[in-house]
Symmetry: C2
Subunit: 296 residues, 2 copies
């Protein structure tokens, strides 16, 4: 009984939220013309394309008219639930913030990966962690393809090296090659064969609603990149290494190889494993915090 | 002496790397025409624009000819140093991967933020952690503006609410409004006044080299988004909450308000603090791992 009465405030809160939600829904149904009246014409509705957050979702799709999915109707006015995460005392917060910084600050992009096996369950947990990222309108527009099959890894290597050689030699000009020369990247990617896992991260540029209609994934590239940041933190947390690569022009061939649908586009390719015993990294420094932070 | 002789293999390794680097440099200087010969014409060099990794750095800038900075010459062939991060036993890896997943899985976007003060040093460590993210060609193209001044916070709120109201009412059409309605977002953002800190994250679309020339920041939006993912993990690790927002069309006004230079564009605005005591979140679920992961 004590347990139940302890929960009573929460029941009341949820009930109130439901009542308000129902009332709002009722008001909306009363005046169905108002929103369309304010939205004006289609050409005006297009004007919201933002100059600060360039994202390919903002490029009007050919079949954009199909986007008007009604599936969300049932998800409108989701009930709210109380949220009370653990709260740490100030001294503990400080220590945790320092420890996490120390851990993450040890992360480096590593191109020398050991072939030693890595427990699959660890990789699964890393992907689960990446899946906790926020996303535009909670679309969760990501697919993580985990490749451990040696033949598939080799095919991936062949595709990446083919395209990278063309990129380096013909497409990119002197400047990019110079920028990369300092970190000794070439188009030979031995680690793609050697690493026990390759993670290929695809962004879903749109989703398919239950009726087969397209459902826009707003800011999908930003969302998936944020997810990759959390994934990198999760890898570092277990002592695994990777190098964050965004293979130019390989996307379509890799998508076909991995049998991913047309709405998915490759964002990143991460070889994952333990660092090899003789791993080295370029002696780069990071900017001091004063150079990246401004306080007002 | 024992200490020094223990280091000898590293000295030899570094020496070898330096010798090879010097040799490569020598080879390059011998045939200065070869790279340009292979790069062919400027129009061909432009062909590398990638369809899979849309990023505004790939849109040729007006003054792109200025990009040919020579500053990296001195950074070419950086020496490599050994990299040996801590290695955890398998049982420990599994436990760490599970614990980190549990911690991150508790993260939610929270719009009810407490006005209680948060130690500044914790925020500094969170920004330091975000600054450990990888970035295209190690450009570190991010600026984190931390706002705690109440007047500036209020000015930010005014700008965001002005623009958001226009976005909601006129620009975005029914669909986006419907998508967001389920998570009860409106254009009233009280938390922008209430939260002890607002973090405004700017992407530097290009840098300024020492000679005043522009230096392209490749994939700056992806890099800064990855950094934001690590920042969100760092906030969650200390028990602070935020809501990841990408304010439409406010970028230019906020940039001017915060006196950021023209090469910086607003990517995200995060109000940060403890959750309020009566904080609630919509009762959303995340996709199960089977729906976001494919194993080959």
């Amino acid at each position: 009984m004590t347990f139940l009465s302890g929960l009573t405030p929460y029941f009341i809160a949820v009930f109130c939220v439901l009542v308000v939600g129902f009332w709002i829904q009722l008001q909306r149904e009363k005046k169905p013309e108002e929103p369309t009246g304010e939205t004006v014409s289609t050409s005006k509705a297009r004007r919201w394309v933002d100059q600060d957050l360039q994202d390919d979702t903002e490029i009007p799709a050919k079949n954009d008219e199909d986007d008007d999915d009604d599936d969300h109707g049932s998800e409108l006015d989701l009930p709210h639930v109380p949220y009370a995460p653990p709260r740490y005392p100030v001294a503990s917060m400080l220590e945790r913030s320092q420890d996490f910084y120390s851990l993450m600050n040890q992360r480096r992009s590593v191109r020398f990966i050991s072939p030693e096996p890595v427990p699959r369950e660890v990789i699964d947990n890393v992907i689960r962690t990446a899946g906790t990222a926020p996303s535009g309108a909670h679309t969760e527009p990501w697919t993580f393809v985990v490749v451990s099959d040696p033949d598939t890894k080799h095919e991936i290597r062949t595709i990446v090296e083919d395209e990278e050689e063309v990129n380096y030699r013909q497409r990119m000009g002197n400047k990019w090659v110079k920028d990369l020369a300092r970190i000794r990247t070439t188009w030979v990617k031995e680690y793609l064969d050697v690493a026990p896992y390759l993670l290929l991260i695809f962004k879903q540029t749109y989703g398919i609603a239950s009726g087969g209609k397209r459902k826009t994934h707003y800011y999908n590239e930003i969302s998936v990149s944020v997810s990759c940041g959390i994934l990198l933190a999760a890898l570092q947390n277990v002592g695994l290494v990777t190098v964050t690569s965004t293979p130019l022009n390989c996307g379509p061939r890799l998508r076909v190889l991995l049998q991913r649908p047309a709405n998915e586009k490759l964002l990143m390719l991460l070889p994952v494993g333990y660092p090899s015993h003789d791993a080295t990294v370029p002696d780069l420094k990071r900017k001091p915090v004063e150079d990246i932070m401004v306080h007002i």
